[in-house]
């Protein structure tokens, strides 16, 4: 028996909103050169769309088997990053353990799609979550373990939420880039360029060029964490629905 349809729509709406926000983050990062974790944001875009499609079948996109490939690749990618982190090699950022969290999330998505595909074969014509919930998933113990692990990461992320710096604080810490007086006379060469100043920018009288507004200010880490929390709860709900 599937959950209420209105509840599925609520979770799907949250996932679509999350996915849309992460897409905006990627666009803003590209246009305004503001740092963000692109791998995570891109993964969240895909996960949000995929989960919305699982919760509400009419929102489903992608061909059969497509999402399995996407999340298998995602799990492998973040797994590789996690291994590099474990070995002390550079991993393109991310806090310790963050990659492992996304390995788990991609793995859970892969499990859900494979489980739905298996049950749907026996319940022809059923909707994704409905058929899956009615027939039960294979390895329900694995679903429960995945749900518990994802809930654990959600709790951990929520614990760190209040310590993430707000954008205003990060912006205040973006110091103007110091420039050599002679180097700037020709129109913003050298360190001024390194600081992201366009040609022809006028330095201050103290020899410091004004920082490009928002140029080095990262996109909101707090909202990124909220996206992870929303996805963790939704994924936990979907896994429990499979029991």
């Amino acid at each position: 028996m599937a959950g209420p349809s209105w509840l599925a729509w609520i979770f799907a709406s949250v996932m679509i909103a999350t996915s849309g926000y992460c897409l905006i983050r990627l666009a803003a990062s590209w246009r305004r050169h503001r740092p963000t974790d692109h791998h995570v944001d891109a993964t969240h875009v895909l996960m949000g769309v995929a989960m919305a499609g699982m919760l509400v079948p009419r929102l489903r996109v992608f061909w059969t088997g497509g999402w399995e490939v996407v999340f298998a690749v995602g799990a492998a990618w973040f797994g590789w990053l996690a291994i590099r982190e474990f070995r002390g090699q550079p991993t393109m950022g991310g806090r310790p353990g963050h990659h492992l969290q996304h390995v788990l999330a991609c793995g859970a998505m892969l499990y859900m799609f494979l489980a739905v595909a298996t049950v749907a074969k026996g319940a022809a014509g059923g909707s994704a979550m409905g058929g899956m919930a009615a027939g039960g998933a294979h390895f329900p113990t694995l679903a429960l373990v995945l749900a518990a692990a994802l809930i654990g990461y959600t709790v951990w992320t929520a614990d760190r939420l209040s310590s993430l710096a707000p954008v205003a604080a990060l912006a205040a810490r973006s110091a103007p880039v110091p420039v050599l007086a002679g180097a700037v006379a020709g129109g913003g060469a050298g360190l001024a360029d390194a600081g992201g100043q366009g040609a022809g920018s006028t330095p201050h009288g103290d020899g410091q060029a004004p920082a490009a507004p928002g140029r080095q200010v990262p996109l909101s880490p707090r909202l990124a964490a909220c996206c992870e929390i929303a996805m963790g709860v939704t994924m936990g709900y979907m896994l429990i629905l499979m029991l």
Binding site: L144, I151, V155, I240
Partner: protein, 337 residues
């Protein structure tokens, strides 16, 4: 970290993702904070379990109404009244229950709302203990350790009290004693495990075939490995139930007094408590979570979490005056909680 972010940001191109942690003053959680986070995780699990389809059906209200049986009228009548309301407005009421539990879980995990969420969890747990669990079957005589008595939800409330982040912590040899003080914490432990020992001697557990029948009934609807485990255990308990109940009572009594003894004995008692909790969780069928109809993980994991809170630490926790837990621009104490 900030300098790395600034340095990374100066590199050309948007393709370089910095992914640098923009955290400031995050204090790694100490023992008590980790226990709070574990409690938050259990509440979140409770919330997603409450979203299951069964909880929106008539079966949920019927299950709640069934807890009134055997209780005095002053206890049973409100239970029947609430079950009737839930039956008439199942969708709305269950959605409210689930979102309340979700808010409690996230509230405990998010440091600024810790106290508010813990307080709300105590009030909610007490209400559910009455209206949802019929006081755990304690007054009806139907409760026993193997079926969750004295009620899993009351352990949520107990944990919330023991793990409360007070402004002034007392010196204690274990995390559970920081707020209430070690003596009060030991008294609460004694009451809980002592009551479990008494419940194990009641007819609901000690009668012939009672324990075996209870465990075998849990096998229905479970995955193969758990179903066979419960069936085999049930068959064993059917023929040895009374003796096992007495042994269980003795072991529970030993656990109850262990916290009052020396550190090695206390540690042995905590380990025994965790083993007993795991055994009870299996007899409870893991709370029925794998059947699609479990409302919560039941008492097993909570008893284990409680036991961990009483683990005697290598060095006693000192008495301190704690700042608020929130990591703000103000300096925070080294401890996370």
């Amino acid at each position: 970290m900030a300098s790395q972010a600034a340095g990374a940001g100066t590199r050309a191109g948007w393709r370089r993702s910095t992914g640098v942690a923009y955290e400031e003053r995050w204090t790694a959680p100490d023992v008590r904070r980790r226990l709070q986070l574990a409690l938050a995780g259990v509440w979140l699990l409770d919330a997603v379990l409450q979203f299951q389809a069964f909880m929106f059906s008539k079966g949920f209200s019927q299950m709640l109404g069934g807890t009134a049986a055997g209780n005095p009228a002053v206890i049973a009548d409100p239970i029947n009244w609430s079950a009737k309301i839930i039956a008439e407005h199942g969708t709305a009421t269950n959605a409210i229950f689930a979102f309340i539990q979700l808010a409690i879980g996230l509230g405990i995990a998010w440091r600024p709302t810790l106290k508010l969420a813990l307080g709300a969890s105590i009030a909610w747990a007490l209400g559910v203990w009455w209206f949802g669990e019929g006081l755990g079957g304690v007054l009806s005589g139907a409760g026993g350790p193997a079926n969750g008595a004295p009620g899993a939800v009351i352990i949520y409330a107990l944990l919330a009290v023991l793990l409360w982040p007070g402004r002034r912590d007392r010196a204690a040899p274990f995390a559970a004693g920081q707020f209430t003080g070690p003596n009060m914490a030991r008294a609460l432990w004694l009451v809980l495990w002592g009551s479990l020992a008494c419940l194990a001697l009641l007819p609901a557990t000690r009668a012939p075939k009672a324990l075996g029948g209870m465990v075998s009934a849990m096998a229905s609807g479970q995955p193969g490995w758990l179903s066979s485990t419960d069936n085999n255990l049930g068959a064993f308990l059917t023929s040895h139930g009374p003796a096992v109940a007495v042994v269980l009572a003795i072991v529970l009594a030993l656990v109850a007094v262990s916290v009052c003894l020396s550190r090695p004995a206390a540690r042995a008692g905590v380990v025994l408590a965790i083993v007993i909790a795991a055994f009870l969780w299996v007899t409870e069928g893991l709370g029925g979570m794998l059947t699609g109809g479990g409302t919560d993980p039941n008492s097993g994991p909570l008893l284990a979490l409680l036991a961990v809170a009483y683990w005697p630490l290598a060095s006693a926790l000192p008495a301190t005056a704690q700042h608020d837990l929130v990591a703000t621009a103000q300096p925070v104490s080294p401890e996370g909680a």
